[in-house]
């Protein structure tokens, strides 16, 4: 659906996106990266606002730059917080619907429907200038969805949304995804992304560091030691037993919270041995967690590597 082939984009001497090749299909894909990683540039490339300096990008097999054929099937919710402030929310969404080729009656109906859909029914005819940040985010989402696009790009969509708004938003994403749409969401907040999807594109300084399912990526990272945290009332005893294992590289003792944190290169082998050891030595264990099984750690590993 979206194919990037060695795409690079320079802004003068600054590189925005550096040699990115990837294909994005239906479902939710998260563009993940720090500020300035190239997420917005990639979104601009996909939405045809800018051209790649080198390489190629196609959406539904066509180059997106200034291509109305592509725009008919793409909805874009930009990061910017700028609107035609003198318009009401309904007018704004109606205008965008008209620009998407709908006739007057359809655009009116669709604008009202979308505004209701994003819970803006109570402020349809208020000027956008008077909207709160969260309301503005909702209007942006409504205009991106108004023409029922197949691909939806959402640039930092959760900015400014309150917890209720966030939950609603996640709900919309789930619905769109269930309809078979391609959704690309950018964010630099890993916690948010984890709640939306497991399919990620991790960008840093314009380069694609990793892409795909977050668990698959984690498996590839096995050359890095895994951290495991074990809570036990006898941390010192457990630590002494575990450090004797050849694939345990390091053990940190945390007597204050009655836990140990260790690092191992052989995760599967460790998990096989651990129950046996516990039973043999009669050391009670209250919990085992792996701090590395979240995006934060993957992100950290990759950009620090």
């Amino acid at each position: 659906m979206i194919v990037m082939d060695s795409v690079s984009r320079w802004y003068g001497q600054v590189i925005g996106v550096n040699d990115v090749s990837y294909q994005i299909g239906p479902g939710v894909t998260a563009l993940l990266g720090m500020n300035g990683a190239g997420k917005s540039t990639l979104m601009r490339l996909i939405t045809g606002q800018v051209r790649p300096t080198t390489g190629s990008i196609t959406v539904f097999g066509e180059e997106p730059f200034a291509n109305p054929g592509v725009f008919e099937r793409v909805g874009y919710c930009p990061e910017i917080d700028n609107f035609y402030e003198y318009m009401s929310g309904r007018e704004f969404v109606y205008t965008m619907a008209r620009m998407n080729g709908m006739n007057d009656a359809t655009a009116k109906a669709r604008a009202g429907e979308m505004m209701e859909r994003v819970n803006m029914g109570h402020a349809l005819d208020r000027k956008i200038a008077g909207y709160s940040k969260g309301m503005r985010q909702r209007v942006k989402l409504a205009q991106a969805m108004v023409h029922n696009p197949d691909v939806i790009l959402l640039d930092e969509p959760l900015n400014g949304l309150d917890p209720v708004g966030r939950r609603e938003f996640m709900g919309y994403l789930g619905e769109f995804s269930a309809q078979g749409k391609t959704i690309i969401v950018s964010s630099h907040i890993l916690f948010e992304v984890e709640q939306m999807t497991r399919s990620i594109m991790l960008l840093n300084r314009g380069r694609l560091l990793a892409a795909g399912d977050v668990r698959t990526i984690r498996e590839y990272l096995d050359r890095y030691p895994h951290r495991i945290r074990i809570e036990t009332p006898q941390p010192r005893e457990l630590a002494s037993r575990l450090i004797a294992l050849p694939y345990v590289l390091k053990v940190d003792l945390d007597e204050w919270s009655q836990a140990i944190e260790l690092q191992t290169r052989e995760l599967n082998q460790f998990y096989e041995v651990l129950p046996q050891l516990v039973l043999n030595e009669n050391i009670p264990i209250r919990g085992v967690t792996s701090p590395d099984n979240n995006l934060e750690s993957i992100f950290k590993y990759l950009i620090e590597a």
Partner: protein, 320 residues
């Protein structure tokens, strides 16, 4: 050090309700002014226009230098030099220097001030400024000084240099004796241009959220009122001085007209041709009444700054 009352988990946040006097740093407005000036002075174009605004003084320096060189070697002695110097009205040279600087000053004003408040309006930076221990007065004064100071210096530096050159070189030709109060008068009139341009520009800038449109509007006011005064000048000249007296006053009814009128009124001159040339000239138009012209200038400044004051609000104004 913050304290946790009654050993509970919530720290003492009562300071948030504090509404007593603030121990504020001095000259908060200067931080805002300096920031504006530093940013503007990075633009090479601004430097070019500021220097270019002194072109009359530069040309006059060259003219005086060559006149001195040529006429002092004249076999007829001092007489030709004395005749040239007699034609030259010193205070009118400053009038020309001031008048011819008006157009470049317009450009300087726009470059310095068109975005002063407009850009803050757009980026909602007002809230950032006013969330610091700086109030509206600090903000407005800072922005005002940020425009007025460079304009004043643009006028002051060449004027003082030319005055110094004249006082050291042409004292025997009446440079000081013609009008002993010339320097204090100059020092009084130059800030007027800075006052008016900066105040009006701030007023206009506060009305918009794009520096581009604010600058164009200010230029429009400048040129359209200027053309109006050209019309009035033509009407006065065509009537050979017999048109109703108000036409003479309306001749000064533009932005630069008000300043030139003030200059003439304070200096007490109607003007002579530039560069000391002997040229047939249209009827010189007398200066307007000093109280009237200064009253209008100050009135416009007060109105403009009042407008800006009204528009500067520390909250995001919710419309609709």
């Amino acid at each position: 050090m913050s304290t946790v009352p009654n050993g509970g988990p919530i720290a003492d946040l009562s300071y948030r309700g504090y509404d007593g006097p603030l121990e504020s740093p001095r000259m908060r407005w200067w931080v805002i002014a300096r920031q504006g000036i530093q940013l503007a002075l990075k633009r090479k174009g601004l430097w070019a226009v500021m220097i270019g605004s002194a072109w009359y003084y530069l040309v006059m320096l060259i003219v005086l230098f060559f006149v001195q060189q040529v006429l002092s070697a004249n076999p007829m002695g001092e007489a030709p030099m004395a005749a040239f110097m007699k034609r030259l009205v010193w205070k009118d040279q400053f009038l020309h220097g001031f008048s011819y600087a008006q157009l470049p000053l317009l450009a300087v004003t726009i470059m310095l001030g068109s975005g002063a408040i407009a850009n803050d309006n757009r980026s909602k930076a007002l809230m950032v400024y006013l969330s610091k221990p700086a109030d509206k007065t600090d903000y407005l004064l800072g922005k005002w000084i940020g425009i007025a100071l460079p304009i004043w210096l643009t006028l002051l530096v060449p004027t003082v240099m030319f005055y110094g050159y004249g006082a050291l070189t042409f004292r025997q030709y009446g440079f000081i004796s013609d009008d002993p109060w010339l320097f204090p008068k100059l020092m009084a009139v130059l800030p007027l241009a800075a006052l008016m341009h900066s105040s009006l520009m701030l007023g206009v800038s506060s009305l918009f959220d794009q520096g581009r449109v604010a600058g164009a509007t200010y230029a429009g006011i400048y040129f359209l009122t200027n053309f109006f005064t050209v019309l009035m000048g033509a009407a006065w000249n065509s009537s050979r001085g017999e048109a109703p007296a108000f036409v003479k006053t309306l001749y000064y009814g533009s932005l630069d007209g008000l300043l030139i009128g003030s200059f003439k009124a304070i200096m007490g001159t109607s003007g002579t041709p530039p560069f000391g040339i002997q040229a047939p000239r249209a009827i010189a138009i007398e200066p307007p009444p000093i109280v009237l012209v200064l009253g209008i200038v100050l009135g416009l400044c007060v109105i403009s700054l009042g407008l800006a004051w009204r528009k500067i609000r520390a909250v995001e104004v919710v419309g609709g």
